[in-house]
């Protein structure tokens, strides 16, 4: 028989109590893993999203820069428009390597998401769109036959969702307009996967926004000239220039303040778990006063008693750590779903990335937590004087 089996058998004595305490630790660990996994995943996905836009600068109609940032990523409501003439003018600038005008429009489709209804994003693009995103590949079909045709190319996920193949007809419900599917893009892991692309002129025509744009994506020949370039557009009325680096920074800033909140939630969860463990073990030490006294009477040293109690605490936290990791892994999808709903802007990739290092780290964190939480109860138990513990321990 070993000390550890004495400790382990002790934990089995009050199964529900032990189970609940382990559960507390497990939840704290799971929260920690999920939050840290979210930190990592969100940054990665957002970076990917923005880098894959293919442009360093976006020119939009004047408005709130945060709104503009969200807008161009999500294409959500409150769209603002600018004249296409602006595009013609900017396009002449020699510092530009590639430039692509866009017109975003949203329509509510009541049949989407199994009848719940949902927003469909249509993006009017010109041929230069593909130049900005050279990695775009067709899963099926090809590019539009002309720049003013009633055709549509569907992002990977939108095509999956609607079960579309080239040759199908789709209907823009509120406009009662039919479009012919000519192509489907490969998955890019960005917002583009959910978008319906149509030729720019077609978009301007069917949404009745002649000569209007919502944004112009620009890739400069030299990123170093960004400052000058922004400066030169400064006096252009009705537009603003947003650099993607800025956008990334803005979004990270927005997220990091909420991150501070979530991190304190994790910290509180851990604190509560630690207090729960200390409370449970302390209670079980007091309940066992006589037993501890008798163990001392039959030869247990202070260190022996300390080790038994310390092991009990550590065992709880080791099991809590393991279960916490398991819960975190099993719960990723649920957490992902909840966060996605809660976030103002959620990138397309995986939001919660749980790595083996993260799991191991959190597990070790739980073990250390157990070692620390065990010190006081173990000290109390080992300090009991045998005769008092036995004779007065009732």
């Amino acid at each position: 028989m070993k000390i550890i089996s004495v400790a382990f058998k002790n934990l089995q004595r009050k199964k529900i109590r032990t189970f609940l305490t382990i559960g507390g630790v497990a939840i704290a660990v799971a929260v920690l893993v999920s939050l840290m996994g979210f930190d990592a995943g969100y940054q990665k996905s957002l970076t990917n999203d923005i880098d894959k836009m293919g442009y360093q600068v976006l020119v939009t109609a004047k408005g709130c820069p945060y709104e503009a940032a969200t807008l161009m990523l999500k294409g959500g409501g409150g769209l603002r428009y600018m004249e296409q003439a602006v595009y013609e003018k900017i396009a002449k600038d020699p510092r530009i390597e590639r430039i692509s005008p866009q017109l975003a429009a949203t329509e509510f489709d009541k049949d989407r998401q199994n009848g719940q209804g949902g927003i469909v994003l249509y993006m009017g693009v010109s041929n230069s769109y593909l130049e900005l995103k050279p990695w775009s590949k067709f899963k099926a079909g090809k590019w539009f036959s002309s720049d003013d045709t009633d055709e549509v190319i569907i992002g990977y996920e939108a095509a999956e969702l609607e079960q579309r193949v080239p040759g199908d007809q789709i209907l823009i419900p509120n406009l009662n307009k039919a479009l012919k599917v000519v192509g489907i893009f490969e998955r890019t892991g960005t917002q583009d996967d959910g978008i319906m692309f149509i030729p720019l002129k077609t978009a301007q025509r069917i949404f009745d926004l002649r000569d209007q744009l919502t944004g112009i994506g620009i890739k400069l020949k030299d990123i170093g000239s960004l400052g000058d370039f922004e400066e030169s557009l400064y006096n252009e009325p009705g537009i603003q220039v947003v650099s993607m680096a800025q956008v990334k920074g803005t979004i990270f800033n927005l997220v990091s303040s909420s991150k501070a909140m979530t991190n304190s939630v994790a910290l509180i969860a851990i604190l509560i778990a630690v207090i729960g463990v200390i409370n449970t073990i302390l209670m079980s030490v007091f309940e066992r006063t006589k037993e501890i006294g008798v163990m001392k009477a039959i030869g247990a040293s202070r260190l022996d008693i300390f080790r038994i109690i310390w092991l009990e605490t550590t065992l709880i936290c080791v099991l809590g750590g393991i279960f916490g990791d398991v819960i975190a892994i099993l719960g990723t999808n649920i957490v992902e779903h909840i966060i996605r709903k809660a976030l103002p802007y959620a990138p397309a990739g995986k939001l919660v990335i749980i790595t083996p290092e993260l799991l191991l780290g959190s597990f070790l964190g739980a073990v250390v937590m157990g070692l620390i939480a065990g010190i006081y109860p173990a000290f109390r138990a080992s300090s009991m004087r045998p005769v008092e513990a036995i004779r007065l321990g009732d």
């Binding site: 028989m1 004495v6 058998k9 006589k290 009477a297």
Partner: protein, 231 residues
């Protein structure tokens, strides 16, 4: 050869109970030799248990000198007393005080674990057989009767081969029949193995079967007598 195991010289024990100072043992002298079988008797509150705790090195004297196997233990700290207990002393308690989560066998093995002695399963099994529990070795405590539990406790006290066995009211929680059976085990250990045994009891019928009887009253020895019933 000196066969005196324990020598107490004017030992006293005082402790505080609320505001009051209680002297449970007063200036008491006693010598216990190898092979003795002593019953400490007396009314409740006469200091029997306190005396036993002190002689068994569970507690320390307030004044006086106590030698256990020629070692002055009255000056030792708890960390040193535990070593004296481990090496020389076995304990049996009125309420058995076994560890309920362990089996009979594991309870008997526990002192070996604390004494860092090799965990000889054979030895523990043999001791359980000796106290008549051959068929109960792997039972959990809740499956055992009171008398059986006390047998486990005796086996546990014997596993480290102590020189003295202390038993505090070992039959106090048992019916007459199992009480006598437990007492018979003590007698046998004393007669066959020459184990020194010191126990306290309220039970005159049992106490008188010891070799020597010490009567306590108010923390003092009022009489020592050789038993006529010891056989």
């Amino acid at each position: 050869m000196n066969n005196i195991l324990i020598k107490a010289d004017k030992i006293s024990k005082t402790y505080r109970l609320f505001a009051e100072e209680v002297r449970a043992v007063k200036d008491l002298d006693i010598e216990i030799s190898q092979g003795e079988f002593i019953a400490i008797m007396g009314p409740s509150g006469s200091g029997k248990t306190t005396l036993l705790d002190i002689l068994g090195c569970l507690d320390r004297v307030s004044t006086g000198k106590l030698e256990v196997l020629d070692k002055n233990v009255s000056v030792l700290k708890e960390s040193s007393l535990v070593k004296v207990r481990r090496a020389n002393i076995g304990f049996v308690f009125q309420e058995f005080l076994l560890i309920p989560t362990l089996t009979a066998l594991e309870n008997v093995e526990l002192p070996l674990l604390f004494a860092k002695l090799p965990q000889e399963r054979d030895l523990a099994v043999r001791l359980l057989e000796k106290v008549g529990l051959a068929k109960r070795i792997n039972h959990l405590l809740k499956q055992l009767s009171g008398g059986e539990r006390q047998r486990v406790a005796i086996a546990r006290a014997l596993v480290t081969s102590p020189k003295i066995l202390f038993a505090d009211e070992p039959t106090g929680n048992l019916d007459t029949k199992s009480g006598q059976q437990i007492f018979d085990i003590f007698k046998e250990l004393n007669q066959k193995d020459g184990l020194t045994i010191v126990l306290t009891t309220h039970n005159n019928k049992l106490g008188l079967q010891a070799k020597r009887i010490i009567y306590l009253k108010d923390g003092r020895i009022v009489s020592k007598e050789e038993s006529s019933l010891y056989a």
